[in-house]
Symmetry: C2
Subunit: 478 residues, 2 copies
């Protein structure tokens, strides 16, 4: 038995079905659509195809939600292609020169698929395991010279059958093929499953609400999308009790442990092993730059806040600052993105010593040499070893670092505010710098901050599952 | 009070001191030297300098081991520079054109240090925190135009004092400066603190012993060095009880959690969410390629082993195979190292769904475009989406993948053996492929494998702390 979630742009049919999960954020509202569940529809094959044919023009996407682990979860995202029209195949032909098949869609347009890819991705029970949703065929059995002996379409245009020269037969369904087309549009949609595009901050920083995030999957998704897009969300109505921050992490997935533990408290300690555990000003920085696997998302929970002067938070988007640096001072950008810096930390935790060390530039680019994937910036954890910078570049590198620092504090980018108790700053630790103003050190000062990390691998995984389950249309980004 | 560990190449003086920690591995023995502790030496400043002056020519390196957290741990590695001769400064002069100071060493040779670097790394109590071992000065206070007003050496040549135009005064000690010289030799030594060079496998695979690793820090270090060098160590004399693998992980640091949990058991399950949980053959693969932060080191603990035919382990060093591929088939290498592959996993664990997805090539290069840092290879977790490969390259890419696969299984690289119960395979999951032969599925077959991961960040940290504590000389590699 399947349930089917249909997502409607029109309010017309909403009243007929329950439950409707509204999404509050204005930027999100136009893209993430109300979820309407039709219960207990059918156990027929291809229920979505049949449903979408019957549905009104207001239906823009569907997703199949599984009751049973034996129903491929992947179908959720796969079949959510374009059900405003039925996806059907009209014609298939072979292009032996290119070793490809070309299909023509009923709605118009063509796509080409390499033979080897089709054979490698045979979806039969022998080649593909429907529970683990993974390939079970062996690469050693893949014949590089395999070719279709014959192929045909079913009458409804839904299934392409191929009989191969290696004796095997495959069946591929039209929607499955459609979302995997090697064309730009389908690839862009898949890109969004992988990563949500980042944007720079709007005038008002994105916000979320602890209670809503804890109770509503739609609010949880909304917060995660904001976090992935902007790298920072201020979360309100959190508890004013210590030790609660794990609840937020576990609402997402699980905590990323570091040598400072899983969740930790930032309170004034004598002889601290990290300068954060003092009452001093912390300059803008990103945490743990000496980790190759630098924790991805940071939660800073303000359990108690000092009420007098001091203790204000500062944040600045190092991603936007780096882009600005590239425009305004390309030479500085070149140095900061090419010169490896030694990052280091010596810590004692749970009676064990840690000695972390990493060489990595301040601005780290992806292999395209263009996209910024990670910023490292932390005055305390920059080592006195500077063991990969050509000595003649050292002075220019410092000038670049200082320029980057000054831009981080530029009022165009830096925001200063005091987080009240019962709020959580949620941050992309690969992108957003944070700091705090110093505060008095006396018995009257009670400032207690809890923190923990969750990696982007887990955050994005949760976002994907939620987007599938709720049928959220994230193809437009935020 | 300090203790001093002196490491002697000569057996001559060993008998005079206790305890001596012998290291067993023949490759290691010539480089990691016996540790000799001289207890309760002195609380004078610069005890090492004084000691090394008094020591025989057999003393090749020293390290200072701290009793108290208030004694900088960093000194362990710092001061272990070159104490066969005393490190002293003979002369200092300014190079105003380059904005550098040039020092001449008492033992001969010169080094240059940029003014800005010297000022930035002032080691006074105001600029540097001796407990957290980190910089406490603020970048905003660093004057890019700072210059020495004057400078002088102490009479013993140990300390360089600089009076700066910004009014501040710094003191830098000779050994501190020496190990941070911007010359190739010192930089190479520091590189080894960061990473141990990798080597291809010797005819007999490296081995370790569970009991020894659990009880001796020297054996622990030896195992970690072998693991970092060869990417694979077979560990013997492990317990034949389930749930014990965490002890090994916690001997290093702490477990890396994934969506399969912390430690996990690979036993036959009905409807497995991963093909590993079946009795089928697993082709050579690396685990979890869909994690951007792919777990670094994997422990596979053979608690029970099937005694009949089947269940053999296979391993193959994908690093060496990739190097071979680059030499023998450069076009294949180019495709596998440039075409992003979609990796995916859908899992259910603890009642929660996970949907991991990542685009990354099979062979991942560092930013130098040359060094291989990570291999991704897993037939089940390669997605049917292939959303970043130009369609016209698909066929050639499959040919490259098949060639890589065939090389992995080439008898030059692939080793097949059966792990007895009570052994642990320890693997670099960024480098070494592993697989297993299928085994019968019946009530008579009892095969139970436990596993967990620890990240390289933590493994290398532990190796550094141990190398410092034991005073191991890792400057030659293994």
């Amino acid at each position: 038995m399947h349930r089917i979630a249909v997502h409607l742009r029109s309010a017309l049919t909403q009243a007929q079905h329950l439950p409707i999960v509204p999404l509050h954020h204005p930027r999100l509202a136009s893209h993430v659509l109300p979820v309407v569940r039709l219960s207990s529809v059918t156990s027929e094959p291809h229920p979505l195809t049949r449903l979408s044919a019957a549905a009104s023009e207001h239906v823009t996407c569907c997703s199949l939600i599984s009751h049973h682990v034996t129903t491929p979860v992947r179908r959720c995202s796969d079949l959510r292609a374009k059900f405003s029209h039925e996806v059907k195949l009209a014609r298939v032909s072979s292009l032996p020169e290119q070793k490809m098949l070309e299909v023509e869609w009923a709605e118009g347009g063509r796509s080409i698929y390499p033979w080897l890819w089709l054979r490698d991705n045979c979806q039969c029970d022998q080649c593909f395991h429907p529970v683990s949703l993974s390939r079970t065929s062996f690469l050693q059995d893949l014949d590089l010279n395999v070719a279709p002996k014959s192929f045909e379409l079913t009458e409804d245009g839904f299934t392409l059958s191929i009989h191969w020269t290696d004796g095997h037969s495959s069946r591929h369904e039209a929607p499955w093929l459609h979302v995997r087309a090697f064309q730009a549009e389908q690839r862009r949609a898949r890109d969004l499953v992988h990563k949500i595009p980042r944007k720079f901050w709007p005038p008002q920083l994105p916000e979320a609400n602890w209670e809503e995030v804890m109770q509503s999957d739609a609010s949880l998704l909304q917060w995660l999308l904001l976090l992935e897009t902007y790298g920072l969300v201020v979360m309100k109505s959190a508890p004013q009790q210590q030790g609660r921050i794990r609840e937020l992490a576990e609402r997402v997935a699980f905590v990323k442990r570091t040598h400072y533990g899983e969740d930790f408290s930032v309170i004034v300690k004598p002889d601290p092993s990290n300068v954060a555990y003092s009452n001093k000003t912390l300059a803008l920085h990103l945490d743990l730059p000496y980790y190759f696997y630098k924790p991805g998302v940071q939660f800073i929970h303000f359990v108690r806040q000092h009420e007098g002067v001091g203790g204000e938070s500062q944040v600045s988007d190092a991603l936007e600052v780096a882009h600005t640096l590239r425009e305004e001072h390309p030479q500085h950008f070149r140095l900061l993105s090419s010169v490896p810096v030694d990052w280091v930390d010596h810590a004692n935790e749970d009676g064990r010593q840690y000695f972390k060390a990493l060489k990595m530039p301040v601005i780290c680019l992806e292999s395209d040499g263009e996209t910024i994937w990670r910023i490292n910036f932390s005055q305390p954890q920059r080592d006195s070893y500077f063991s990969a910078c050509p000595v003649e570049d050292v002075h220019a590198w410092y000038a670049a670092l200082k320029a980057f620092h000054d831009l981080l504090y530029d009022p165009r980018f830096c925001r200063t505010f005091k987080m009240p108790p019962g709020t959580v700053l949620t941050l992309d630790n690969l992108r957003v710098t944070h700091g705090r103003m110093g505060f008095p050190d006396s018995d009257d000062v009670h400032r207690h901050v809890d923190g923990c990390y969750v990696d982007w691998d887990e955050v994005r995984s949760r976002r994907r599952v939620l987007a599938d389950t709720l049928g959220a249309d994230i193809t437009q980004g935020l």
